[in-house]
């Protein structure tokens, strides 16, 4: 059975790109267009991997990532961050939120800064899912 990969991104062109890459590599794509819808899909579908944008309406990828990693039943799901936001800013935001909330959220499994070539995305997915 194909592994389920959830793509959370508000840009339809990006969703379409990632879905094509997933289908061509025999994964089952699921899509959500913002942080709130993304979290609902994760709870409902329990995907094998999440590919997550950061800057989105109705809940950013940063909040969704932290929600995912602090929920016991979901925190084992690997996440590939796929975004235009620089890694340096992402890590600073995590540090600020860790300090503010008294949490220690692990870094994402893979961090890809847009744009990436399909091969780079496939390699990252395969690294996590095989």
């Amino acid at each position: 059975m194909s592994k389920k990969v959830l793509v959370v991104d508000d840009d339809p062109d990006v969703r379409s790109f990632v879905v094509t890459v997933l289908e061509e590599n025999q994964y089952m794509p699921l899509v959500a267009q913002d942080g709130i819808e993304g979290f609902e899909m994760i709870e409902k579908e329990k995907p094998d991997l999440v590919i997550l944008d950061v800057l989105m309406p109705r809940g950013s990828g940063i909040r969704l990532y932290r929600k995912l990693k602090t929920k016991e039943t979901l925190n084992q799901i690997p996440v590939i961050m796929f975004t235009g936001i620089a890694l340096r800013s992402f890590l600073k935001s995590q540090k600020a939120l860790d300090e503010f909330n008294g949490e220690e959220v692990p870094e994402p499994d893979v961090y890809l800064e847009k744009p990436v070539e399909p091969e780079e995305l496939v390699a990252a997915i395969k690294k996590k899912l095989g």
Partner: protein, 293 residues
């Protein structure tokens, strides 16, 4: 009421990161979430004879906006804030209202352009339409000097103009949300010229005294919340007097209600808010009344 979420509407020429930066003082109140909105006017990408829909132009404008928003968002994310962004080809006010419905912000910030009479008129009508159609307070941001430098301390000395309407009560509740941000609040009421038409100086002084007492009580209410407040009674044409008071006390912004009264009165009271928002050099925070009256 706490200001947790802010909708920042920008065309980039009117409102940029410096303006946003001056609003970040609201983090000391409760601000934790900023939504960016850039509306690309349809005519910029609309079909033209011989060229069709300008898809390339749309991509260029969207990506230009995206690059700016990513840069701003990185700054805010690094502070631990939550950020969202919308870039849409649409019509300004309907798009703002759509995003307001999706995101439920506590404050809308919109710029005001001074570039030429036509643009000014356009910007003014945008603000009026927005105020008419939303219950969310709107901050009309202005660059206070000709060199376009933004007021650094927007909440240092706000001037609240009250006409004692129901909207005035809503304003008071809203401003309490700024308690950790405001330096000194100046509260004014303008006594209308018609009220002063009396042959007796004693009667006129009685009017002043009564209004001053009401303002004192309001100042006490704010001070009990930890907001320093000073009362001022003015007399004459409300629009001119509000502008005069803002200059005299070097206000950092003017706070006004936009009326929830019946249609005719609304037109009269509303026009003061609209005119000040359009013409004043000061940034204006407009707090709409309820829309069901």
């Amino acid at each position: 009421m706490e200001i947790r979420k802010l909708l920042f509407v920008t065309k980039f020429e009117d409102l940029c990161y410096d303006a946003l930066n001056s609003l970040l003082a609201l983090r000391n109140a409760a601000l934790e979430h900023v939504i960016f909105l850039n509306v690309i006017e349809r005519e910029k990408v609309a079909m033209k004879r011989g060229s069709g829909y300008l898809k390339e132009e749309e991509v260029k404008l969207k990506e230009t906006a995206n690059i700016r928003f990513i840069d701003w968002a990185e700054n805010l994310f690094e502070m631990g804030m939550e950020v969202g962004a919308y870039i849409e080809v649409s019509t300004l006010i309907p798009e703002i209202l759509k995003v307001v419905k999706r995101e439920s912000p506590d404050l809308i910030v919109i710029g005001h352009s001074y570039k030429g009479a036509m643009k000014q008129l356009y910007a003014g009508s945008d603000v009026s339409e927005l105020i008419r159609r939303t219950e969310v307070p709107v901050l009309v941001f202005k660059h206070m000097r000709e060199d376009n430098i933004v007021p650094e301390k927007l909440f240092e000395r706000p001037l609240l103009a009250t006409n004692w309407s129901d909207t005035g009560k809503k304003m008071v509740e809203y401003i309490k949300g700024f308690k950790n941000v405001i330096g000194e609040l100046h509260i004014m009421h303008v006594v209308k010229e018609s009220t002063l038409k009396s042959p007796s100086a004693h009667d006129v002084q009685k009017v002043r005294k009564a209004e001053r007492k009401r303002l004192d009580a309001l100042c006490d209410e704010f001070e009990s919340m930890g907001i320093n407040a000073r009362p001022h009674v003015y007399a004459g044409d409300p629009q001119k007097e509000i502008e005069k008071a803002a200059k005299e006390y070097q206000a950092s912004m003017i706070i006004l209600g936009s009326s929830d009264k019946a249609a005719i009165l609304e037109r009269w009271v509303g026009s003061i808010s609209k005119n000040i928002a359009d013409k004043s050099a000061f940034p204006c925070l407009l707090i709409p009344g309820k829309k069901n009256s």
